[in-house]
């Protein structure tokens, strides 16, 4: 039973053995990069745009809106990181239904790497926005006694991020394989479709959790950001107050 793509060798080129995880990660990367380049070669700002550009715009706009709502700040700083997380996990889970493809997110190495990226990004964004002193002071809230618990909490939520994604994707792939031995092909196919749904949900959860962690570490300058966010919102009816 092949538990993880880490253990199956794909080939032995001169540089050394490469396993399935690396090869399928390259496939996902190539697919996303080449696809985006093909779509964005001829961008149009007029009223008539190609359907692929429309699709990409819908996706990017959706991510921007979610990031803005979660962080209460302008989305531009966080979109590259959180958006890349979401897109990579979503595409690699979606491609899981392709025969012969083994999702790189079904390997603990990949998910741990992604979780470590989030673990490093949280203090990076926090320190870039507030400075080292104010960011580190948060660890002493609500009292200096809580310092070890805050640190352990940070480490455990990173671990939970990694194992949550790995467990969901790996168990989805494995249950299809196990059922294939005992029931007709219809049932494993339905399990694959369920795997699509859980893959999308897990990609969304990973990205939203990453955004929540980053947002909780960057709470400075709330007033200025609130004013900026207010400007981006559409006009609602004015609040009328009686005297």
């Amino acid at each position: 039973m092949r538990i993880s793509p880490d253990s199956s060798l794909f080939g032995q080129p001169a540089t050394g053995p490469i396993n399935d995880t690396i090869v399928f990660t390259w496939v996902v990367m190539a697919l996303m990069a080449v696809g985006s380049w093909l779509v964005t070669r001829r961008l149009s700002t007029g009223p008539k745009i190609s359907r692929w550009q429309n699709l990409l715009e819908v996706i990017v706009q959706g991510m921007r809106q979610q990031i803005r709502e979660v962080s209460q700040q302008a989305a531009g700083r966080y979109l590259p990181f959180v958006g890349s997380l979401f897109l990579f996990i979503a595409v690699s889970n979606l491609l899981g239904v392709v025969p012969g493809f083994r999702s790189p997110t079904g390997s603990l190495s990949t998910t741990t790497a992604l979780a470590l990226c989030v673990f490093v990004a949280v203090p990076l964004y926090g320190i870039a926005q507030q400075g080292v002193g104010r960011y580190l002071k948060v660890y002493l809230q609500p009292s200096p006694f809580m310092l070890p618990f805050n640190i352990i909490g940070e480490a455990s939520r990173t671990l939970a991020l990694a194992v949550r994604l790995f467990g969901n994707v790996m168990s989805g792939a494995m249950i299809g394989g196990i059922l294939l031995a005992v029931v007709p092909i219809v049932i494993p196919t339905l399990m694959d479709v369920l795997g699509l749904l859980t893959g999308m949900i897990q990609a969304y959860i990973f990205a939203i959790l990453a955004m929540v962690y980053i947002a909780s570490g960057t709470q400075a300058r709330r007033k200025r950001e609130v004013r900026m966010a207010e400007k981006e919102k559409p006009d609602t009816e004015p609040v009328t107050r009686s005297a």
Binding site: E69, S156, R157, A160, V163, I201
Partner: protein, 96 residues
């Protein structure tokens, strides 16, 4: 019963029990959270987006305990330190 089969039996039984019992609590908790969220959406459909997003974040937090049980179970099955030690001891004894 020699050490090797004792360790194997204990590891397998414990791994199964860990994940079986450990997933009961979080499942119940997530069900309660979900029912509260559905009730709030029924009361305030306009806020459905915020409620759904908060629900997902909350479910991820509640699921952490089940994930810890899953990790312990996986360690017992695939990265069992006592199993490796007793295998090495058995190989050394067979080589003597």
């Amino acid at each position: 019963m020699d050490a090797m089969s004792l360790i194997a039996m204990a590891s397998i039984v414990t791994a199964g029990l860990t994940i079986a019992i450990g997933s009961v609590g979080p499942a119940l908790g997530e069900g309660r959270a979900l029912s509260q969220a559905l009730q709030s959406i029924a009361q305030q459909p306009d806020e459905a987006n915020t409620i759904t997003r908060t629900l997902f974040v909350g479910l991820a937090m509640v699921e952490s305990t089940a994930i810890y049980c899953f990790v312990v179970s996986m360690i017992l099955i695939f990265a069992n330190p006592f199993w490796n030690k007793v295998i090495a001891a058995g190989a050394a004894e067979a080589a003597k």
